[in-house]
Amino acid sequence: MKLTNHISKYVIVFIMALLSIIPFYVLLYLALNPPSRTMFDGFNLLPDFHFQNFSSAWKSSKLGNAIINSLIITVGAVLTIVLVSSTAGYSIARFKNKWNSAIYSTLLLCMMIPAIIITVPLYTLMKNIHGINSHWAMILLLATNSLPLAIFLYTSFIKALPREIEESAIMDGCTYFSAFWRITFHFLKPVTASVVIISGLSIWNNYGQAVFFLQSQSMRTVPLAINMFFQSYGAQWNLMAAAAVIGVSPAVITFLVFQKYFIKGITAGAVKG
């Protein structure tokens, strides 16, 4: 009885993992086949390992440039988010007053507003500040989009931290401001890892805003480049798949590096909130 229980548990877990991984397999399969072989054939589930696809896809989709743009925007925005939302979270969690709680509830309300609502006025705004086709404006805009969730995570996490960790520093003559940077900030690593993963991925994958505000070819980010590629190359599945593999791998690798902190951060950030 116990053994069958055990086996069925593994079977279920295996099916779960399989379901999640099949599309990745299909993507890799396509990316590694020559153009003549995009169909699946028999039970032969191994591709031809036709690595040339990657270099031709790289050249024709100008992915290198797109990856650089995506990196600049993602790193810039994530740094902004961590700095701005950890400080805001600290002040909301530690100094209870009407002002701070008003900010907090406004942010939570705004989490429910789909970004598409402000597209039109935002376009005028971006034009007026000369932010169309520029890295800095995209960084600030995408950082703002992720602020509510990041501040929410930081606030909940800091609320759960004991005040004593700062208090001794403040007794020694530290200001609250420097106590935050010197002491509290170091305790925020798990939630910072979650914020980096969650906001970093949504910024790396951002399509909705990029398509409006990064129109020049030289400013294209990865999702834009891949989408252009899909639209202009018709049925060349193997090249498109190779481009997609290249485009998603930085995100996947970063996630795999940070993922061990991830659940920890969510636990402390979201659940204690």
Partner: protein, 301 residues
């Protein structure tokens, strides 16, 4: 060397002791500039016949009236609500079951967790293209597998058929985001002290009894976060549909956010902004009702 006078030093010290009061200022400034300000502008635009180019004139609530008389818009409201009614409960159910299973001790647990989360890492646009290839009739991976297993009669043009396309989109969406829901439930499960379960066991509680009386009530914060984010996410669904069906066949999978985008491209700027505000209302009402209903529950526990 710059000589700093006693007074300047005093002033600097005073500023630095009060610095913490301004720590949320950068966040507020960013948010006000890139969100609140455009939002208020948007409310203004929604009351005009703006097409983005010529000077717009004020037309009051006409855009909102037009919306409720537009058959396509009403069809899209229906699609959006149906999508959410499918997606949000399924995501929560599977996210919860996945978390229960992967909370147990077994070999390879963390690998499976990572794999289940992985789809959420990929841009929904690319994911959409992959699924498009999997689901293609007579060529796709699924058709091929069914063919090999002599189950080809089960296959069909799921995305091309207006009766099944929306259901397929719901399933793809659930597949992609079940990992996120699962992680939040896992986090909740891990914060439940094990002693409570031991006490329950001593009192003779079965697995299902402890699930009903310990796990679910203790998971309340996770349930709340997941349901709220799933309602918001599925009512504003956008890129999964864009990549897989582009709203088709016909308008059978067009969601409100896709409709807003189409109107925007069609230069109905004022109208599309008005529809966007209606979408916000459609999102906030169920969220508000849910939070209200569960608030009274919170006191009971």
């Amino acid at each position: 060397m710059i000589q700093i006078g006693e007074n300047t030093l005093m002033l600097l010290r005073r500023i630095s002791t009060h610095l913490h009061k301004f720590m949320s200022l950068p966040a507020i400034l960013l948010f006000a500039f890139f969100f609140i300000y455009p939002l208020t502008q948007g409310i203004g635009i929604s009351l005009t016949d703006s097409n983005g180019i010529k000077a717009a004139s004020f037309i009051g609530l006409d855009n909102f009236v037009t919306f409720f008389h537009d058959d396509r818009a009403m069809n899209d409201v229906k699609n959006t609500v149906l999508f959410a009614l499918g997606s949000a409960p399924l995501l929560n159910l599977f996210g919860f079951l996945y978390a229960l299973l992967l909370d147990r001790q077994f070999k390879g647990k963390s690998i499976v967790r990572t794999i289940v989360y992985l789809p959420a890492v990929i841009s929904p646009l690319i994911m959409g293209y992959i699924w498009y290839f999997i689901l293609q009739p007579e060529r796709g991976f699924l058709y091929h597998m069914l063919n090999q297993l002599h189950l080809v009669f089960l296959s069909g043009d799921w995305l091309g058929d207006s009766s099944s396309a929306l259901k397929v989109l719901v399933l793809v969406n659930v597949w992609q985001y079940v990992g996120i829901t699962m992680v939040v439930y896992l986090a909740g499960l891990q914060s439940i002290p094990k002693e409570i379960y031991e006490q329950g066991k001593i009192d003779g509680a079965s697995y299902f009894a402890s699930l009903r009386y310990i796990t679910i009530p203790m998971l309340y914060p996770s349930i709340k976060i997941n349901i709220v984010t799933n309602i918001i996410g599925s009512l504003s669904v956008f890129d999964v549909i864009l990549a897989l069906t582009d709203g088709g066949p016909g308008y059978s999978t067009e969601s409100l956010s896709i409709y807003i985008l189409r109107m925007l491209y069609g230069s109905f700027t004022g109208y599309s902004t008005a529809v966007a505000l209606i979408l916000f209302a459609i999102i906030i009402i169920p969220v508000y009702v849910f939070l209200r209903v569960t608030k009274s529950k919170e006191y009971e526990m």
